[in-house]
Symmetry: C2
Subunit: 477 residues, 2 copies
Amino acid sequence: MATSLLSRQLVLSLQQNLRLTAPGCRYVSKAAAKTQVEFEYDGPSMKTEVPGPRSKELTKQLGEIQNVGAINFFCNYEESRGNYLVDVDGNRMLDVYTQISSIPIAHTDLLYSYCAFVNRPALGIMPPENFPEKLAESLLSVAPSGMSRVQTMACGSCSNENAYKAMFIWYRNKERGHNNPSDEDMSSCMINQSPGCPDFSILSFMGGFHGRTMGCLATTHSKAIHKLDVPSFDWPIAPFPKLKYPLEEFTRENAQEEARCLEEVEDLIVQWRQKGRPVAGIVIEPIQAEGGDNHATPDFFKKLRNIARKHGSAFHVDEVQTGGGATGKFWAHEHWGMDDPADIVSFSKKMLTGGYYHKDELQADKAYRIFNTWMGDPENLLEEVTRSGKTLLQGLYQLQDQYPNLLSSARGQGTFCAIDIRDDATRNSILLKARDKGVLLGGCGDRSIRFRPALVFKEYHVHMFLNVFSDVLAEHN
Amino acid sequence: MATSLLSRQLVLSLQQNLRLTAPGCRYVSKAAAKTQVEFEYDGPSMKTEVPGPRSKELTKQLGEIQNVGAINFFCNYEESRGNYLVDVDGNRMLDVYTQISSIPIAHTDLLYSYCAFVNRPALGIMPPENFPEKLAESLLSVAPSGMSRVQTMACGSCSNENAYKAMFIWYRNKERGHNNPSDEDMSSCMINQSPGCPDFSILSFMGGFHGRTMGCLATTHSKAIHKLDVPSFDWPIAPFPKLKYPLEEFTRENAQEEARCLEEVEDLIVQWRQKGRPVAGIVIEPIQAEGGDNHATPDFFKKLRNIARKHGSAFHVDEVQTGGGATGKFWAHEHWGMDDPADIVSFSKKMLTGGYYHKDELQADKAYRIFNTWMGDPENLLEEVTRSGKTLLQGLYQLQDQYPNLLSSARGQGTFCAIDIRDDATRNSILLKARDKGVLLGGCGDRSIRFRPALVFKEYHVHMFLNVFSDVLAEHN
């Protein structure tokens, strides 16, 4: 089967890549294949409200030590399988959210992700013998078009932070015309001053989310609570197109909206250059996820990429949430159909390790074939994602027609789908009611629900979800 | 034995803490105790120069994919044991550096650290059942004096980034007099502007190293190459005392130097407040590690802590390198002998997970007993570190007397020792020659060698090292 094949190959390859060939890890990988074949539950099963009494008790205990504001409930990961998450009160829920899309294939994989982080000094300074080979077999075999180099990192924020640094360094060397910093560069950077620490900027988009460390945070604009009280950089922020869905029905209005945003991008680049803070790079998500599952057309991204090229700014596509197959292609930016879609592509989460791909300006572009040796028979898996996604989106369209006062703007690529709810309060009530019926959903933006199932989410899981969702909506109409 | 007891308890406790109770991990922990008892090598054994032909070949391969400038050689981690690192060419080296102190107890532990990182969304939103209990048993049982709360993080940079954010938020709420942001706060922060993103600063020290993400990097001042071409914040940077060693012999001069630095700290705090960029926090390492193993006296730190309190700035002690036992105390700041040494203490590396402890201003201070339930019989282990460290430092003093033109400023706490070499070129030559003889050392600062052995580095390892080091020095005199 494609799924278990993919899962096994992915895990084996990454484990070997990361030197997890210790007995324990071989064991885990064997358990994986077995679990996925044998242990899928029949459906949700609810014993208590959620959070149940045990979760509440544990939240109270943890509250003595840490802030527990973000905690939903406590999990029993050992009992969680495939598309189902089991909590400490014995509730089994169909998981259409997978902890913001951080579980690559299925719940059993969560165990692997504990093992997948890497000791950075070891890899950077004294890597294990099979590191180059495994890197080539795994990460490079799915490299985005036009990219032949990959830099691995421990987490999503670090991936973006380091991608930004790479763009700054590239831009400065371009400005210098050579790679040799002056003595003044070297001494001024030690005290945070220019020219050593130049006044460069990264252009980002309102509604974007790129992480919470201070560099990333300066480009994150999804929720105030992420940014409040933290000093930031004076960097330009462009509007992201506010499109009408379904995109096919509003092509003219949407094209106007996209043109408006692109014009603003160019204006900002010129303004910031005049301010003495030139835009070294542009960072964007192929689908703004945290910000509300906001889509734009391939035409928008093509033109944006051209604007970056025209003004000499690097173009950074953040695929931390969208990469890994959920959109029906391995990288969401493949939907744009470009040979040279980006200068930098960052990833994390589903890839089990973080990092970024980048072009090597000094090397001739070499196009790596996507899905070459890594993935066994992945076309089947992505076909399945495409099929489940289509069923899901059609179901959402139907419900939207049925409840026009409640639902709007159903949208998606693959199973990476979302829909808007009348208002924030109704959205949150729907999330809770669905959970009480054993379906785990997540919100994004002001009033959206986002769907982030595992890659093994099949059509019958879609129908199971749609039935529950339909019941919940009836209660809110 | 204390060492294997500590190791087993630490690993078991952290594994359970991090939900690594899968079969694989139990297996690893059993292997640990066995390995440490049975598999310590007799001494170094060199087959080729380092890097040998296999390492060179692999470096070439990896160079096609990544920047390999930092790579020393490729390792065979399966054959590495206790204090010995084995490379892919079969060279076995006594490791007095442990990859910048990132291996907690011994080389066998490196395997664990692969497993010790955690899936953050899972822990923050849906933690496993035993999380509160294990957190209390492990990390909280070694909490610094006066601290009852701990926030776990995936890596050292993230730990410091988030500690800075915590200080900014704390400072801003203090300034407001309450925790309720205004509408203007909420809207201005979305576009990176004050008052939502206030112009606060963190005071750091020249020579300090706190990480490489952009917030951390603004407080890092050890090497230009870390900072070059990356935009930064206009934050104050104070001089770190340049003391003469041994400290006991230069008390008067050193006290003057420390007084000068403290005066500068106060001046900077006042200046930056007048500039409209008040100092929300002060960050410092108990021993500046990356910057050259620069020590200061307990008196300096006590006075600095008082200055922070006087001016209302948070006091952040970065123990990412110094925490975990190498100085002969679990936290290096315990050498200061204070009840209330800090507001925030960050950690990583040896603790197997990253994060920071912090005071809870809203709770009555509760003093957790250090080394309570976590560590079995840790006093013996720390006694051993103290004993090995003393032997090491005495040996360095003797060599310094013997080679006054070559060596100076031997210094250390526990086995966390360093010595200065005549110049950079000689230092680097000594590092290479020692490696050729099977002893792995590391540099720091302009011309220092730093010693960062594992906690199982015993007196006979010290003598083995001193013999080789003595031979190498004779070649350079």
